[in-house]
């Protein structure tokens, strides 16, 4: 396949053109309560072609590999026609030609584990959850994604590479009277199946939280200082800042480009944030992105100053900034987008106890529950939290969603903990149509933010 596609790419008439073809194997085991809802092992394949010609850009996804040649040629013609509608043409930054193979070799390879063994593991964890009397249902999912990809372009790059991740995650749903609560758990989220094993004690701690939440009060609405645990702080830096560090989001937004010039002061000197696809064992680990560029660590914020941005070849050219290798597609149905790999807040030197002591009237918020961002506005949830009064942790609270504005919130990060931790399950939705990417990790220590808006009763 690689040689055939490389021959097609070499003959394409475009300023730049590439073709990606992939075979994706997925395993999914789903328990819903006691019921085994799904055991599926699937194989799919498809291709994607991109072209830049005469200043225009066109893309195509296709299912039939026999049509790769005509589709790639047609994509080049569409790009050329599109170029006639642009005064300033699009182009891609120079990138090294790579002819190589990057295959994944984890400690315990999920692709070698029999389906029955995976099913038994999911069953085991699901039964542990169901053993708690307050649990009314569960959702326990084993997810495995193994992608073998070929990338070629008309500059001579020809790369075979693999992406792999596996994880067990789910929801613990508890009920008492009319109160229904849901706490999530997630193990693995990386290439190594070994990370899924022997996690019973971690699971039992999450079950206990789901039970405690049934007696918690709903959070109060208002503006408060908060301490975010590493899971929440990781989602915060991903949602609130990370998406604004993606070059394609800024490329056509003059207002934000002006506000996010390199060297702009975004926070206090205690704030440092990076994106790093080279971190093995984290959800967002990869060697090469989906336009054949090696992924590298990018220091996004250094001592409170904006120092880096995530790019495709197109946005790197547009901004005149270095390549970062962050252009990725979930599968062949989609075109690559600029996406975070493993984004994290670097550790500071505050202790958790010092943070709690510093809050007179606020909340300690724990456990990421997803989020959404639009430019500088962000919203995200917490699985549970605690009232903090006069520097002491108080009663547990539930049903927590918070929102804010990026720039003032970054400035409001007044303490950064010394306890960096990474989440085990990746996930990020972006694009239209939305691409939900599991290979996206977050990490952070505890942080204190001086004011966020909390929606509550």
């Amino acid at each position: 396949m690689k040689d055939r596609l490389a021959a097609i790419a070499a003959g394409l008439s475009a300023d730049y053109a590439d073709i990606r073809y992939e075979e994706n194997r997925k395993v999914r085991i789903l328990y819903e309560g006691k019921k085994l809802g799904e055991v599926a092992s699937t194989v799919s394949s498809g291709g994607h072609a991109r072209a830049y010609a005469d200043g225009g850009k066109a893309i195509s996804s296709f299912s039939d590999p026999e049509r790769a040649g005509p589709i790639a040629e047609s994509t080049c013609a569409s790009a050329s026609r599109a170029g006639r509608c642009r005064e300033k043409g699009l182009r891609v930054a120079d990138a090294p030609v790579i002819v190589d193979s990057f295959l994944v070799a984890p400690g315990k390879d999920p692709r070698t584990i029999p389906l029955k063994e995976k099913l038994d593991l999911a069953t085991h964890y699901n039964e542990i959850v169901l053993g708690e009397p307050s649990v009314i249902t569960t959702q326990t999912v084993y997810d495995e994604f193994a992608s073998r990809r070929v990338f070629v372009n008309n500059e001579g790059s020809a790369i075979e590479y693999e992406l792999l991740n596996c994880g067990i995650a789910g929801s613990i749903v508890t009920k008492k009277g009319n109160v229904v609560q849901r706490v999530r758990f997630a193990f693995g989220g990386c290439e190594d199946y070994g990370r899924l094993l022997d996690r019973e004690e971690d699971l039992k701690k999450r079950i206990a939280k789901a039970c405690e939440l049934l007696d918690a009060e709903p959070v109060k609405a208002g503006v408060f200082p908060v301490i975010l645990d590493p899971s929440e702080a990781g989602v915060f830096i991903h949602e609130a800042f990370g998406h604004l560090s993606e070059g394609d989001g800024l490329q056509n937004n003059p207002a934000f480009r002006a506000r996010l010039q390199m060297g702009t002061k975004l926070g206090r000197s205690i704030l440092n944030a990076s994106d790093d696809p080279t971190l093995e064992g984290r959800p967002g680990h990869f060697i090469v992105d989906d336009e054949g560029v090696r992924g590298v660590k990018t220091r996004l914020i250094t001592e409170g100053i904006l120092t880096g941005r995530l790019h495709s070849r197109e946005t790197a050219a547009e901004f005149g900034e270095p390549l970062s290798g962050n252009m990725r597609a979930v599968d062949a149905r989609f075109t690559p987008l600029v996406r975070m790999s493993n984004i994290f807040i670097e550790p500071g030197d505050s202790s958790f106890d010092d943070m709690v002591t510093s809050v007179e009237d606020g909340y300690y918020l724990v456990g990421a529950r997803g989020g959404q961002t639009s430019g500088d506005q962000f919203t995200f949830g917490a699985q549970w939290g605690f009232r903090i009064e006069n520097g002491r942790i108080g009663p547990m609270v539930r049903d927590i969603n918070m929102s804010g504005e990026l720039f003032s919130t970054l400035e409001g990060i007044s303490m950064v903990g010394d306890d960096l931790a990474f989440g085990e399950r990746g996930g990020c939705g972006k694009g239209s149509p939305m691409q939900t990417n599991r290979k996206s990790g977050t990490g952070a220590p505890h942080i204190r933010i001086d004011a966020v808006t909390i929606g509550g009763v």
């Binding site: 092992s41 195509s60 996804s61 389906l115 430019g375 919203t379």
Partner: protein, 438 residues
Amino acid sequence: MHALIEGARGSVDQAELYWSRRREIHVLYQNYRLQQVEENDLSSVALRVIDDGRLGSTYGVFPDREDLLDDARTAARYGEPATFSFAPAASYADVRTYDGRTAGLTSQDLVDLCESVKGRIHNELPDIPLFIRCRAETSELLVESTEGAQGEIRATDFGIGFGAPFRGVGISIIKGERSISPLDVDGALIDEFVEWYRWGDKTSTPSTGRLPVLLAPEAAFLVLLPLLMGVSGDLVSKKTSPLVDRIGQPILSEKLTVIDDAVADGDPNARPFDDEGIPCGAHTIVENGVLKDYILDLRSGAALDRPSNGHGFKSALFGGGTEASPTPWFANPVIEAGEESWRDLVKGLNEGLLITNGMGFHSGNFPQGQFAVQAVGYHVVGGEVIGRLDRTMISGNIYEDLRAVRAVSRERRRAVIGLLSIGSAPYILVDSLQVAGK
């Protein structure tokens, strides 16, 4: 009958084939410039079998893949005991889903339309980073089962949306429309976009407390998604829905009626059969505030000892598609219109909010009817919009707060943005919601 289903007879107890082929053209403008042209030709297939009384499924690209049936049988070896049979033969409603004019569109036709929209908005708002997305899709869908179901449709879907972030911030305002036929963008939609965009030039933050809230059609998902979860046979059968045993009882204001109208002729959401081959219809979910029925697929119907009522769709809040398992979902939810003009409802507000979107909905406890979102919209004081909402959240529970609805507008339109961008709704004036602001 497809050869795969024919071949499955005798080798498994039952089989169900779902095969979709989509040809799409997308044109994307960003900051008034053509960013990219996209043309896709995608096929996908899902096969479910019941083998030795157990359910198994698999997914692929083309239905002629030789090992598709073997993969499904392997999955069935470990699968759950089947509690239902695949769909039997049925007659389906005659619904118009296809317009050959949409199928004949080229990317240049879409570019020409975008250029027209661009020109008209540029005259009014030349200094905004306008984006336009235009799409023409032609699809074929086949659902067949060994039990006799045989559904096949061709469909077209044309959509155009345009918008821009408000000046200096990331929150955008978006307007758009969908149809099975090629659309021109009428002046009223562009005029409304320009008016709403200009409303955002100023900002305002209300005080924390309870205020009346006018939900625009774009924000209808704040009501429809919790309702979808509440009436889902899946959640009802697991007893995690707050609407268990509530059929026949009032759950919303008597001013609200919700119908899932899957057979609205010529509607881009129209479907004569669901993704399991069960006939679809116009199904009243809530009538004058009273819960009339749940929505069921084959699996949840079996769990509740009822037949599917044609709501088994391969949908999900995020994702969905051919590889997803069918689950109870709305096809085309419609909240019925009322009698008043939405502009009169705004004028009648002493102080309140006009909400056009809510950010962060999915991280709330919405299956229980709750929402707590960043409020996207406008602050209304003395019957006038005084500015775009800034640093404001709204929260509530539809089964408590939407019992008190003051009015429903006579204007109803498709909600083309938002998490559940599949139905249509009027403006809904809620008596009060909790607001977190100043």
